[in-house]
């Protein structure tokens, strides 16, 4: 069966367009829109995915590649945010999808494919964060060729800066502060905050992905934001 016979109804990459979400922050409720969009896209995909998953389980690689395209933008974004490095993000991306491919036979449609693949990615990212904590590399700081320290997160400061160096500098400074504040969270708090704030997922789904309850995810989010507010207030 040729790959072009798979219609792509709603790429989930849609959820992960934070530029639009960020811009809508003037709204009364900025997250409402992204949440709705996320869940609608996820619903559309669920129907669409079932046949793709079955094909892929039969060993059809083209079908698996179409599935990958549905989710890989969000996966890469999550990995990039949590690892703070392009090469680490690429490694997590690669490992996650290869793992999914190898274990696709054991996927029994008990949860959505989206939840399943995110569970794999979050586990890999949590491992990565824990390893980094063990190595005492709390802040995502690296050393460049000239021996200067720089924040890895800064490398990805987005390209919105344009021609205003002052604003650019302020944005970078803010990015550094946020990066430092985020690195003070525990891996689990960081993960819950990331999935809720930057990926607009429902706490129920976050709980499902992290093998815990909605209530625990809710408490973790509360703790994470309290810590972040405290840390950012200290830095001002």
């Amino acid at each position: 069966m040729p790959a072009d016979s798979y219609a792509i109804a709603n790429p989930v990459g849609e959820i992960s367009r934070p530029r639009q979400t960020a811009h809508s922050s003037g709204n009364r409720n900025p997250t409402l829109y992204s949440d709705m969009r996320g869940s609608l896209a996820a619903q559309g995909n669920r129907i669409d995915d079932t046949s793709l998953i079955r094909e892929a389980q039969q060993g059809n690689r083209a079908a698996f590649e179409v599935l990958v395209r549905h989710y890989d933008q969000s996966v890469l974004r999550l990995a990039l945010h949590l690892t703070g490095s392009e090469s680490d993000a690429q490694d997590v991306y690669q490992e996650a999808f290869l793992k999914a491919y190898k274990n696709l036979g054991s996927f029994r449609f008990e949860c959505s494919f989206y939840t399943w693949i995110y569970r794999i990615v979050t586990n890999l990212c949590l491992d990565h964060l824990r390893k980094r904590n063990v190595r005492k590399e709390d802040a995502p700081v690296a050393v460049d060729a000239s021996g200067e320290e720089y924040s890895r997160l800064e490398q990805f400061a987005d390209a919105r800066s344009g021609a205003n160096p002052e604003r650019d500098l302020m944005r970078r400074e803010l990015g550094r502060k946020i990066g430092a504040a985020l690195s003070r969270l525990t891996p689990r708090e960081r993960m819950v905050f990331e999935l809720k704030h930057y990926h607009g997922l429902k706490l129920r789904t976050v709980g499902e992905m992290l093998n815990t309850t909605e209530e625990t995810a809710k408490n973790t989010l509360f703790r994470a934001t309290q810590k972040l507010r405290g840390a950012l207030a200290e830095m001002r």
């Binding site: 040729p2 072009d4 016979s5 798979y6 219609a7 792509i8 109804a9 790429p11 990459g13 849609e14 934070p18 530029r19 979400t21 960020a22 811009h23 922050s25 900025p30 997250t31 409402l32 949440d35 389980q57 060993g59 690689r61 590649e65 990958v68 890989d72 933008q73 890469l76 974004r77 990039l80 703070g84 392009e86 993000a89 690429q90 991306y93 999808f97 290869l98 491919y101 190898k102 696709l104 036979g105 997160l153 990805f156 987005d158 390209a159 344009g162 021609a163 803010l174 990015g175 946020i178 809720k196 704030h197 930057y198 429902k202 706490l203 809710k218 989010l221 509360f222 934001t225 950012l232």
Partner: protein, 322 residues
């Protein structure tokens, strides 16, 4: 008491995680209580601040990750398949060892099946030789069979694609084991399927060009868009890529995947004409941060002088972003 409860829930209110009735209560309270309203403002400001500096994977990073994954997938076996291939026959063998009668049955069935398959193969082979003498022609509307989808695995190539002037009737000659012809309107599912096949698989670039051209007239269909994206990325003929680009031009605004595809073409297409056209298409979207970063890159590194200067002009005209 009420204030405590509201303050504990204000975060979840901002994140749209409170039930409808609780939401109503929070809103009622906020309208009356200025302290809690200030708290809400602070929570929103905090939310907006954290959303301000978001690291985004660049189109390059995404493309590189996809390529790396594709390479790895080529050499990776699915675990499920291994289980089926290795474990299931093992279970069978264990049973066979214990039951000689079953082994005999399997042997006989296998032997008989083999003879049957050989017989069918020979019969089918001679049939196809006689059939080649009668090339089939298929027309839409007059016969009921046009609704049946074409079995694309049986297609070996598309010979020609022609459109009758002034109508949306299309005629396609394609080879299966024998050459066939299909005629029908552009909306015909069978015709669309053949066009999609031709746009991807044909060895003759003229046919690919005609197919892509016709697909761009076809209705707004996800699989058509997919085929155009494929042609833009993979077709060896720049003319076909240019046609695909034209077909995609209507979706630059609404479909982020199309936009990313065009950005990839801007960075990596070898033909400067294609890159030039892609640049024209992304112009209305130049405020998108991905587009910006690609423009910045083009302005510095593109081999073509006029593309570099065009990209620079577009960047210079860009409005200030918040």
């Amino acid at each position: 008491m009420k204030c405590d409860w509201v303050r504990q829930n204000i975060l979840f209110y901002v994140y749209n995680e409170v039930e409808d009735d609780a939401r109503y209560e929070v809103e009622q309270h906020l309208a009356r209580c200025p302290e809690c309203a200030t708290e809400l403002k602070a929570a929103r400001k905090f939310h907006a601040t954290l959303s301000e500096t978001v690291a985004e994977p660049t189109p390059n990073l995404l493309a590189a990750s996809r390529m790396r994954l594709q390479e790895a997938l080529e050499t990776t076996q699915q675990g499920g398949l291994w289980h089926r291939l290795i474990l299931e026959p093992m279970t069978w063998l264990r049973q066979i060892r214990m039951s000689p009668a079953l082994a005999a049955v399997i042997f006989i069935v296998g032997f008989g099946g083999g003879i049957g398959a050989t017989y069918n193969f020979l019969a089918g082979h001679s049939g196809s030789y006689t059939a080649t003498a009668y090339p089939a022609e298929l027309t839409s509307g007059s016969s009921g069979n046009s609704a049946q989808p074409v079995d694309s695995s049986a297609i070996t190539g598309i010979r020609s694609v022609t459109q009758e002037p002034g109508s949306n009737q299309v005629s396609i000659k394609y080879d299966t084991v024998l050459t066939q012809e299909a005629q029908g309107s552009l909306n015909d599912q069978r015709i669309q399927q053949l066009l999609l096949f031709a746009a991807r698989n044909n060895y003759n670039s003229g046919v690919r060009m005609d197919s892509v051209d016709l697909l761009t007239q076809a209705p707004d269909d996800a699989s058509v868009r997919e085929a155009l994206m494929y042609a833009l990325q993979n077709d060896s003929n720049p003319g076909v890529r240019l046609k695909a680009l034209d077909g995609l031009s209507g979706f630059v605004r609404q479909d982020p995947r199309v936009r990313d595809g065009i950005l990839r073409a801007l960075i990596s297409d070898a033909n400067s004409g294609v890159r030039m056209q892609a640049l024209r298409l992304v112009e209305p979207m130049k405020t998108d941060s991905n587009v910006r970063s690609v423009l910045t890159r083009l302005a510095q590194t593109d081999q073509n002088v006029s593309i570099r200067s065009q990209a620079r002009t577009m960047l210079a005209q860009m409005p200030e972003m918040d």
